[in-house]
Symmetry: C2
């Protein structure tokens, strides 16, 4: 099986697994699927959950597309070839309870072809990151430790490197504030002298497989926690920051919007409700102020807050 076939099969299996597990810890709602075709070639399966008592809003999407790269994409990638194949899984889950963090993950593969259809370049990308509304050391450490464990099987250098990339990427420059407590983020993983395509295929699959064990225990631990209306408002304010990041800074979102991507699949990442209060600052010493401290990047394994 080619790398491309293997990864395509993988993301669909992962989509099934993730949806099934989320449904099993959720409040009873099911994902509904919206299958769509891309005019230029390929399509996707958008799976949406809404109004569940555990998961207020979530999407777990796959897409498998191919065709000719638009010039803006060739320019962005710095390539001259125009025949491409891309597939990936992308998910964002916004729980109802403010004590359960929002989570985002994405695993993708890209391949370019010459005029005869022979592959000339390919790479993997992806990552998982956590956005809590209230800080729980146990949860953040568990999330990072699970990702580290998966990455460490491939070498000790990957987790620290991709953890740093994640902190750098999910940053609201205009607020001088990270979106969440990070995780890992990687892109353009390509074969070189010491690592072939199968190495990166296996690495990306391993990171994909780490998503459920990294996130599900946190949901199980917190989903029944009591919360107040004020805590729900704080969650909505923080979801405003999530919207700001996705609409102002996120490369994938902006690129999708500018290249006529399927808008509803792209913007499924946005929360059900977001709130903006003028010049809002949590009280000194409050749980909300503690969250802001936790948004400052740190070594969560050896030196948690």
């Amino acid at each position: 099986m080619s790398i491309r076939e293997s990864f395509t099969e993988y993301i669909h299996q992962l989509q099934d697994d993730i949806c099934a597990q989320l449904e099993s810890v959720g409040g009873g709602a099911r994902f509904r699927e919206d299958a769509w075709d891309r005019p230029g070639g390929g399509g996707g399966k958008t799976r949406i959950m809404r109004g569940d008592s555990v998961f207020e809003k979530g999407g777990v999407n796959t897409s498998v597309v191919h065709g000719k790269l638009p010039p803006v994409m060739q320019e962005r990638l710095g390539v001259k070839h125009e025949d491409f194949f891309a597939c990936g899984i992308s998910l964002v889950i916004h729980p109802a309870n403010p004590h359960v963090p929002t989570v985002h993950a994405n695993f993708r593969f890209f391949e370019l072809y010459d005029d005869k259809g022979n592959p000339v370049d390919r790479w993997f990308g992806g990552g998982s990151d956590l956005t809590p509304y209230y800080y729980q050391k146990e949860d953040v450490v568990h999330f990072h430790r699970t990702l580290k464990q998966a990455a460490d099987a491939f070498g000790p250098e990957y987790y620290p490197m991709y953890k740093r990339e994640c902190d750098k990427y999910f940053f609201n420059t205009h607020r001088n504030e990270n979106r969440g407590v990070g995780g890992v983020f990687f892109d353009y993983l390509k074969a070189d002298e010491s690592r072939d395509d199968h190495f990166w295929l296996d690495f990306t699959k391993a990171m994909g497989n780490a998503f459920l064990p990294a996130y599900i225990p946190i949901v199980e631990r917190r989903k029944e926690d009591e919360f107040t209306e004020d805590q729900r408002e704080w969650q909505q304010i923080r979801r405003g920051r999530y919207v700001e990041f996705n609409l102002i800074h996120d490369r994938g979102t902006l690129f999708g919007l500018k290249t006529n991507g399927r808008i509803e699949s792209i913007l499924m990442s946005l929360p059900a409700l977001a709130r903006w209060e003028y010049d809002h600052h949590p009280e000194l010493g409050s749980e909300e102020a503690l969250l802001l401290e936790a948004l400052k990047p740190r070594d969560w394994i050896n030196n948690p807050l």
Copy 2:
């Protein structure tokens, strides 16, 4: 009095007038003022209203700033001079009742100086535009007619020209949908053979003065209208589109975010609550579907929907 002094005085008077009138038709809440200094020179007066029974969230801001243009701004304006002065008033009002439209207006002046401090260039910009959640012919026609009347005093060409600019500018390209029903939008109004600086000063003041008579009667007419929880949700969905426009497309917002503007004053334009529902479409023949029809630009004076 110089043009600059005259317009600076004007925007502060207009800020007072607008806040007073909004308070008088509102539910009893008052604007609170937040005065701020700009490190590079000048400052502003941000006035915020929140939680009023008529006006859920609103801001009426003035700023008067001067100093050295950052290179990114010189580039954007295509100028080499770096000493500048800018002042303006900017407002966004998000009413509580879904039958009362959101409104935005902005009137501004910009001046550039040579090394000796002599003015070498100056221009005005601004506009007003309306974003209803439910279509009411009477309101939209009144809004446009009031702006047209103010513009027509200066010549018949201005309203049609700046109305077109407004439709073009407040457009969510990624949704293929206008933000609202428009109004007028103008920029770089400069003296030429037939129109001196005082002409544009008077024009901009006249458009500023037209704001209250264009908007207040709509608020008075609709503020007591009954509404349902479903209509409130529709308002929040449409406010999601407002957020999308401001964060993805609005030049002023993006520019402010990229040049270290005062973030809370820039983002006061965002609504208290915005909602995103996956692939939401109003029912055929519903009041919500009618609104989407009204978002298609048309000649509101001679051929209203």
